[in-house]
């Protein structure tokens, strides 16, 4: 590995199996679904570990119960996160083959290590959840199990981010040397990571608010559940405020010509960015109101606002990729039509 020139391979002779616009719509849709469940998994695993640590420190039964509920949700959502990840993987492999395969192979061993890392993390999450009561007297060990799962889950996104970022920079491929080197070699990586981690925490908090609001309609919430709900709102509020800063950091880490697309050069992208900022501020306002005085009408307003934000984010993220790749795709076009003369069977001698 190492010294490739501008090594974008020609596309396969087999054509892309469907309408490109449809596939692009589907990749945005399924990616958003995937990442939301990843957000849940990551924030509940982290939340459970932090809450359990504080419970141990303060000998608080309540915090421990809150942690346990988080761990239950983490292990359920991780199963869904994984299966939902398959759809964007399918589509990205098919419509960005030349870029995505190269970026994957450049970190081939790290990519394969995902299998072991995720199996380990998921098994640890099950141990963590199913041994909560049994290991009442082995709290230290129990905590360590959760902590280890959390560390793995915080590391894994870096592999994905390196992959999807490096596919945007073909002219940097020749200088890249494996996964760890790539972490510093490509721009954007840490800004994306920060943006993603914060988004996870906020999404997790928001989920707690939604989940227990729904539950509240059927039964009164226990004290613990009430704390989770309001705690969730607070986390979502503060982290989303912070996100205004980190989102901007991400924006300025883009190549200048791409950044400027969002700042007036392209009307659609500029409008999307403004809309997302506006929606974010609106969501913060709604969450603020909820934290002071919880009203049912806020539930739908904030849910709608949240869904719109995530949709706009997913769309913008796609446009970033398209903008970066546009010059290359013009030069190394995709195979759109079936040309039989390029797909001949092997003639046996």
């Amino acid at each position: 590995m190492g010294v490739l020139q501008l090594s974008i391979p020609p596309d396969f002779p087999l054509p892309i199996p469907g309408n490109l616009t449809l596939l692009q719509f589907l990749i945005v849709l399924t990616f958003v679904l995937h990442i939301i469940f990843v957000n849940f998994t990551l924030s509940f695993a982290t939340g459970a570990v932090i809450l359990e640590a504080s419970a141990m420190k303060t000998h608080s039964r309540r915090l421990d119960d809150m942690a346990r509920i988080c761990s239950l949700h983490a292990s359920i959502h991780k199963s869904i996160a994984v299966v939902l990840g398959v759809a964007p993987l399918l589509i990205i492999s098919v419509i960005y083959t030349q870029y995505f395969y190269t970026s994957t192979l450049l970190i081939g061993k790290a990519w394969l290590s995902l299998i072991i890392l995720l199996i380990t993390a998921f098994l640890l999450l099950y141990v963590y959840k199913f041994s909560w009561e049994k290991w009442e007297n082995k709290k230290g060990l129990h905590f360590l199990v959760g902590f280890a799962a959390m560390l793995i889950l915080l590391f894994v996104p870096l592999i994905f981010i390196v992959n999807v970022v490096s596919m945007l920079y073909p002219e940097k491929w020749s200088g890249a040397n494996g996964f760890f080197h790539s972490l510093l070699h490509y721009p954007q990586i840490w800004q994306r990571y920060a943006h993603f981690i914060l988004a996870s925490l906020a999404t997790g908090g928001f989920y707690m608010y939604l989940y227990f609001s729904v539950k509240q309609r059927k039964q009164t919430l226990s004290d613990v559940e009430q704390s989770l709900k309001l705690g969730g709102v607070k986390v979502a509020f503060w982290i989303t405020l912070l996100q205004l800063v980190f989102g901007s950091l991400l924006l300025i880490s883009f190549d200048r010509n791409i950044m400027l697309l969002f700042m007036g050069d392209d009307a659609l992208l500029t409008a999307l960015l403004l809309l997302s900022v506006f929606l974010t501020i609106l969501l913060c306002a709604l969450l603020y109101v909820v934290s002071k005085n919880d009203r049912p009408s806020m539930f739908y307003a904030s849910l709608l606002c949240f869904v719109l934000i995530v949709g706009v984010m997913g769309w913008m993220r796609h446009e970033v990729r398209e903008s970066y790749l546009k010059p290359y795709i013009n030069e190394y076009p995709r195979t759109i039509e079936m040309k039989k003369e390029n797909i001949k069977p092997v003639n046996k001698q």
Binding site: F12, P17, L89, S93, V346
Partner: protein, 437 residues
């Protein structure tokens, strides 16, 4: 060689995919499909016979199905894909283009399968009586159906790699999907899954389920399923064998690496073992020997390993039969490469033209592009380690071997490239075979 190569010099690139695939087949067939059918049958039987303890055992087993399939099962499934991307990007990339919509359907079914599994396990205690319990059982049945459906889709893709049938001429998706080995292999896998689940789970039931009120009915369910599945597996297996290409069928014994006699004896012993086991299970379940259950457990794992290795190996030299070789080269590419040179058409090759000075380095690149998929230089599998195989060969012999390698060893694809490239590869191989280590 259009993508960067990743090399596992000791383990061997092909073996990485194989090991992940074997684990995945064990779990997807044995646990996700087979065990689910057994567990749902047990729940049904528990309802009919009002056996509360059996119901609880079914729940316990479901918990293990949940844990195993959503961790090792799911991740090795995705893992086969991850590893083929890293090791055979051209092949998996092409398959995705051909079968994209089948994979989309597979994904939808798979998502539903996971959702059913989560509902099935987590509502066990809440949907407990009367109508709710019926509903719960129905979710279980849907789960069993959907896990089978995922297999019925993926089998179309897998079978097409060996027998793409009319696809190579028509390039029609449906011809590729409903290919000549589709139905036999799907039928075979279906009943194999149930046999596998019985073989894998009996030992645990024997060891850990002490209460006879639960163990007896459960083993009874196993033996009924076994009585249906074993004959079905055998009959469908024979049909499957009959429908694969002759060239591939000839490679079966060879691909296990065993002498023919040993191969026959081992397979006969395993078969006899499973028959004795099933009769024992049906007739004297109370006295089922631990040793026998363990032997069946081990043979089942061995058989799946054999099945996977054979299935992957008999396809050689192709990865998609009659279309693409294991090293990603197709007929059209071979033509261009024989004309202009292999390296000239390899995006990531650093050397585009062989000269006297860069010969050995060029040879290394050609080796990585054309041979790495099946060979190592050194490595534990000595038959595939070229430094070992070529020890003592003069450079001249290597040079004359390469252009004929697909005739001498039909499981190898033909070499593609120019005469200078043959020389370069030979120079490189000669060097590594004669290096002092």
């Amino acid at each position: 060689m259009n993508f960067p190569t990743v090399e596992f010099p000791w383990f061997g690139n092909g073996n990485i995919v194989a090991i992940i695939a074997i684990i995945h087949v064990l779990i997807s067939h044995g646990v996700a499909i087979g065990a689910t059918a057994l567990v749902v049958s047990s729940e049904y039987y528990a309802i009919v016979t009002k056996n509360e303890k059996l119901d609880q055992l079914a729940k316990q087993l479901t918990k293990w199905i949940l844990i195993i399939t959503t961790t090792v099962g799911a991740m090795t499934g995705v893992g086969i894909w991850f590893s083929t991307t890293v090791i055979q990007p051209d092949s998996i990339g092409s398959l995705l283009r051909i079968f994209f919509w089948a994979w989309v359907a597979e994904w939808v079914v798979f998502v539903l399968e996971v959702v059913f599994l989560l509902i099935y396990y987590y509502t066990w205690e809440t949907w407990k009586e009367g109508k709710a319990k019926r509903k719960h059982l129905n979710v279980g049945i849907m789960l069993a159906v959907f896990s089978w459906l995922t297999m019925s889709i993926i089998t179309g893709i897998l079978a097409a790699k060996l027998t793409p049938g009319r696809w190579v001429e028509t390039l029609s998706f449906w011809n590729a999907f409903f290919n000549p080995t589709y139905l036999p292999s799907l039928g075979f896998r279906t009943f194999l899954s149930i046999m596998l689940a019985i073989a894998l789970f009996t030992i645990f039931v024997r060891l850990f389920v002490k209460d006879e009120e639960v163990r007896m009915p459960l083993l009874r369910i196993f033996s009924i399923w076994g009585a249906i599945s074993l004959p079905a597996t055998v009959v469908l297996g024979i049909w499957y064998l009959q429908s694969i290409p002759d060239q591939a069928a000839k490679l079966i014994v060879w691909s296990t690496g065993l002498p023919e006699k040993t191969f026959d004896v081992l397979n006969m012993i395993a078969f006899a073992l499973i028959i004795v086991f099933l009769f024992w299970l049906a007739i004297r379940p109370k006295k089922l020997p631990i040793f026998l259950s363990l032997a069946v457990f081990m043979s089942a794992i061995g058989f799946i390993g054999e099945f996977e290795v054979v299935r992957e190996s008999i396809r050689k030299p192709y990865i998609i039969y009659n279309y693409m070789y294991v090293n990603g080269i197709t007929a059209v590419k071979a033509e261009e490469m024989n004309r202009d040179g292999y390296l000239a058409h390899s995006t990531v090759a650093k050397i585009k033209k062989v000269t006297e000075k860069n010969k050995v380095e060029a040879g290394r690149e050609i080796y990585q592009g054309q041979c790495l998929a099946c060979h190592t230089i050194d490595g534990w599998r000595s038959k595939r380690a070229l430094a070992n195989r070529l020890k003592g060969w003069p450079q001249q012999s290597i040079e004359s071997f390469i252009p004929t390698m697909h005739q001498v060893r039909p499981m190898m694809p033909p070499f593609v490239g120019t005469k200078e490239e043959v020389e370069a590869l030979a120079a490189y191989l000669y060097k590594v075979a004669n290096e002092e280590k």
